[in-house]
C-alpha cells in the first residue's frame, strides 16, 4: 500500500519525539511505497534528521520504495538538509558543506575510526567549542558508549543513524543516535526471563552500574553508568526513548517512566554544555592503591 507521510516542523521537546514515533507507527510493517511530504515543515532539528534517515532505511530494508517530494521542501529546510548531507545521501547529487550542522551519518556496521572522526572532528573539533584535546578525548570515549550499546544490544540489520548540531546562542552541543532494532525493555525482559517486567523497572535496571544483557561470560554495564555521571557533571541532559519507555537524566534528577507512543527501537538524545569549566574530571587520589 502507498502512504504519504506528512512531516511537520520538528523541534526536540517531548511532543516532537512523539511526532517522530507516530511517523514510524504510520509506516507499520507493510508499506511498500512511502512518500515524504514536507509541505508543513519549516524547521527540522537533528533528532528529526537522524530519525527520518533511519526510517527511510527501515522502509527500504523491507523492500519498500521511498520518495522525498523535493517540491514540498521549504528553502530553509532544504538548505539545512543539503548542508548536513541528508539530501546527498538520499536524493541529490549536491555534496554537503560545512556550517552549523553536524553531518547526517549512517553506520551500517560499527566503524570505530569513522565514528571517532565524526565525534572528535565533525561534532567537537570545530572552532565553535573552546575545548582542549584531552577533554575532547574524554567526551568521545563517553559518547562512544551510546554507539557501543546500540551495536551490541540493538540487534539491528540496518545500523545506527546520527545527526548533531551546535547551538551558539545556547552554547550547547546536541547529538541524536537512533537504531530501529530491539529496544532496551525487550532485551532486559528476555535476559531476566521476566516477560511482564514493567518498562520503567527494565530501564532503571539497564542504567545501573554493572548491569548488562551481554551473554558470553564477560562483564558489562559500565558504559551507560559512566556516561550518566559524565552528563550530570557537565550539567547536560541525556534522554533515551525505547519502546514505551523514557529516561531523562540531568544534574538534578533521573526519570524512568512508561510513555507512549511506542517506538520499537532506541533513540538517544544527548545535550552538552560548551563550557570547559564544567568538565571537572575527578582526580585519582588512589593512584597507589592496588588496581585489582
Amino acid at each position: 500500500m502507498s502512504v504519504t507521510l506528512n512531516i511537520p516542523t520538528v523541534n526536540d521537546e517531548l511532543k516532537d519525539f512523539d511526532t517522530l514515533f507516530q511517523l514510524w507507527q504510520q509506516v507499520g510493517e507493510s508499506c511498500s511505497d512511502v512518500t515524504f511530504d514536507f509541505s508543513k515543515c519549516f524547521f527540522l532539528k537533528p533528532n528529526a534528521v537522524a530519525f527520518l534517515g533511519g526510517l527511510i532505511r527501515f522502509i527500504q530494508s523491507r523492500e519498500g520504495k521511498t520518495t522525498i517530494n523535493k517540491d514540498t521542501l521549504n528553502n530553509k529546510v532544504k538548505m539545512n538538509l543539503q548542508q548536513n548531507g541528508f539530501m546527498y545521501t538520499f536524493c541529490e547529487d549536491k555534496e554537503p558543506w560545512q556550517g552549523n550542522s553536524v553531518p547526517y551519518r549512517e553506520d551500517a556496521k560499527q566503524n570505530k575510526d569513522g565514528l571517532v572522526y565524526y565525534l572528535a572532528e565533525q561534532w567537537l573539533g570545530r572552532d565553535w567549542v573552546q575545548m582542549g584535546q584531552n577533554l575532547r578525548n574524554v567526551i568521545v570515549g563517553r559518547v562512544w558508549e551510546i554507539y557501543a550499546n546500540a551495536f551490541e544490544h540493538g540487534r539491528t540489520d540496518i545500523g545506527v543513524f546520527s545527526c548533531g548540531q551546535h547551538y551558539p546562542k545556547l552554547n550547547q552541543l546536541k547529538l541524536t543516535v537512533v537504531d530501529f532494532g530491539v529496544g532496551i525493555p525487550s532485551n532486559v525482559r528476555q535476559f531476566q526471563n521476566k516477560p511482564t517486567l514493567p518498562v520503567d523497572k527494565a530501564l532503571e535496571w539497564a542504567f545501573q552500574a554493572g548491569t548488562s544483557t551481554r551473554q558470553g561470560g564477560v562483564a558489562g554495564g559500565v558504559g551507560l553508568d559512566y556516561l550518566k555521571k559524565f552528563v550530570k557533571i557537565n550539567r547536560g541532559k541525556l534522554e533515551f526513548f525505547s519502546q514505551d519507555g523514557y529516561v531523562a537524566i540531568d544534574e538534578n534528577q533521573e526519570i524512568y517512566q512508561s510513555r507512549q507512543p511506542f517506538f520499537q527501537g532506541t533513540l538517544v538524545n544527548i545535550t552538552l554544555q560548551c563550557e570547559e569549566a564544567l568538565y571537572i574530571l575527578a582526580s585519582d587520589a588512589d593512584d597507589e592503591e592496588p588496581l585489582f
Binding site: Q110, K112, A148, A209, G220, G221, L281, D284, F292
Partner: protein, 115 residues
C-alpha cells in the same frame, strides 16, 4: 613481557575485539605466572567495552592478588585509569556472582542426583 598497546591497537582503545586481542596475549602469560606490562603510551581515548574484554575477564579465573603482582599498566592516562577501575570493580562483582550461581547450581544438581 611488555606489550605496546598503541602499536598493537592504535590511539583509541574502545571495542570488544580490540580488548579480546589484548586478552589473548596477556592471559596465557599470566597463567604461566609470568609478569606482563601493558604500555599505553600514545593511547588517547578509552571506552569500557575494550577494558571489559581486555582486563575484566581476566578476573574470571585469576585471583586479584595474582593480577596485582603480575600485571602492570604504564603510561595509562587518568581517564583510562578511571574507566579501568570501574571495569575491574564491576568484573570482580560479576564473577563473584557467577561463582555464587555456580555453587548454588552444584548444590541443586547434587540434591537432584540424590533423589
Amino acid at each position: 613481557m611488555r606489550h605496546d598497546i598503541h602499536d598493537l591497537i592504535g590511539k583509541t582503545c574502545m571495542t570488544p575485539d580490540e580488548g579480546q586481542k589484548v586478552y589473548n596475549l596477556t592471559y596465557p602469560e599470566l597463567l604461566a605466572n609470568r609478569p606482563v606490562e601493558l604500555d599505553f603510551a600514545g593511547v588517547e581515548i578509552f571506552a569500557s567495552p575494550f577494558f571489559n574484554f581486555a582486563i575484566g575477564q581476566l578476573l574470571r579465573d585469576i585471583p586479584p592478588d595474582t593480577l596485582n603482582r603480575l600485571l602492570k599498566f604504564s603510561n595509562l592516562n587518568s581517564v583510562g585509569r578511571q574507566v579501568l577501575k570501574r571495569v575491574i570493580e564491576n568484573s570482580k562483582q560479576y564473577y563473584s556472582n557467577e561463582n555464587t550461581r555456580k555453587a548454588v547450581d552444584e548444590v541443586v544438581s547434587e540434591q537432584a542426583n540424590s533423589l
